[in-house]
Symmetry: C2
Subunit: 290 residues, 2 copies
Amino acid sequence: MRQILVVFFLFSINVSSAADPLPSWNAGPAKDAIINYVKCATNDGCPLYVPPRERIAVFDNDGTLWSEQPAYFQLLFALDRVKALAPQHPEWKTEQPFKAALENDLKTVAASGKAGLLKIMAVTHSGMTTDEFTDTVREWIKTARHPEKQVPYTKLVYQPMLEVLNYLRANGFKTYIVSGGGVDFLRVWAEDVYGIPPEQVIGSSIKVKLEERDGKPVLVRLAEIDFIDDKEGKPVGIHRFIGRAPVMAFGRVEKSHFLGIWRAWVVVILRRDHQASSKKQKAFTSRFRF
Amino acid sequence: MRQILVVFFLFSINVSSAADPLPSWNAGPAKDAIINYVKCATNDGCPLYVPPRERIAVFDNDGTLWSEQPAYFQLLFALDRVKALAPQHPEWKTEQPFKAALENDLKTVAASGKAGLLKIMAVTHSGMTTDEFTDTVREWIKTARHPEKQVPYTKLVYQPMLEVLNYLRANGFKTYIVSGGGVDFLRVWAEDVYGIPPEQVIGSSIKVKLEERDGKPVLVRLAEIDFIDDKEGKPVGIHRFIGRAPVMAFGRVEKSHFLGIWRAWVVVILRRDHQASSKKQKAFTSRFRF
């Protein structure tokens, strides 16, 4: 009975457009559910009230907060790095998948499979210190351009989702990224672009090790996977990093593995982004769990 | 030259006792350094100003925030669990290190070495779901009593450090635990006792796995070490969980491995606590890095 009342509550209130916190969202049940839920979660007389410290919202990144077309942007970063490093590796001119990477042949790179991708990740993501990697990503995110759109990758974030992030934070929610992408790649720019600080970014990682270089202690990135924050890894990552169940979760259908385990009240599943150009990301559906 | 000026600054200002934020601290250079640093870090005209988002302070737990005598409290938890589980394990009456655990023979338990401790950890810390483990720790922390002091373990926290935690948070710092202890053990009670939420607790962990039990997805704790957040693991843990350098660090001499790598401005190294009864933890020294 309580469940029915709650569902009734979430859908029955018309969201006034006077002070619309999500102006880029299409009117519909997903938008209403988000706004009605937030209003209830922040009102301690409401059945779904959530104490401030439990207001945790998690967001997938690729295809949810920014585009992933024509490929994961972190892969495009890796291919740019292969090009930048190529002068020191003449053998790459004939060695796959590096040859394909240098020729912008995404198809052949993809066809090289997991083994090929791991080769590319090893030379572009490991061997350097954590600070050196951060500097490289920072420079790339500032200067690189999307191969088709010819704009910085950070321009290919979804305005409707930026509105959700701001709206939730204004209501006392901690917003987290929970991405299959590399945590050390995301953390470099997530704060400036999404307002999400490094400590609220969860992602896949490689191992790092404390070493001494030039007489100074540094952390060095190893060519060894530490944690894959994808599929069944997502609830593991949330448990490991947050240690508390999120109450809201945003992601796409294919990436909803982390949604089954906790009592997330509002789960918004977004349409797959087929085009990086889509200005308005359409909220597809929302699910309620009790 | 700047370094000298900064050191001069930190030591030259007498801390007024009128509104003492650290009343349990002995007067001295460590107390002055903490207060002067915080005043400067929060004043954007000051040379050591720190923007709010970079105000990260990390704290060791055992021997820093609470006592570790006569043994790590988490080990005492494990021994209590062995006793609770013993009726289902009649073989423990003769099998070491369980026999010693059942007889309160800490010496023999310790003499069983790493292999013995791992046996105890395996039966007391794995096999159950994460929720079941949380419930067990919550019940223990509420009901267990310290073997000598006969008080709840949470009464054996250090008042001077509670004052530091509150003082820093009142000045916009995020306070983190960075402990060699188990993260899932600490997170159960750290928020109530220290005001540190689960997502700001970093510690050692075992692997967890998404499984279905009774038709429900759950996370199950495996008898397999995931990460040891101790010694050279501490900077790795800070990198992994925070992704940003702390500006203050509190720990004991033996546990200062995480202090060398970042530009922590004020590093307070505390005396080893020889007695759980010590009411006033004495700040031993402070270090400045530039």
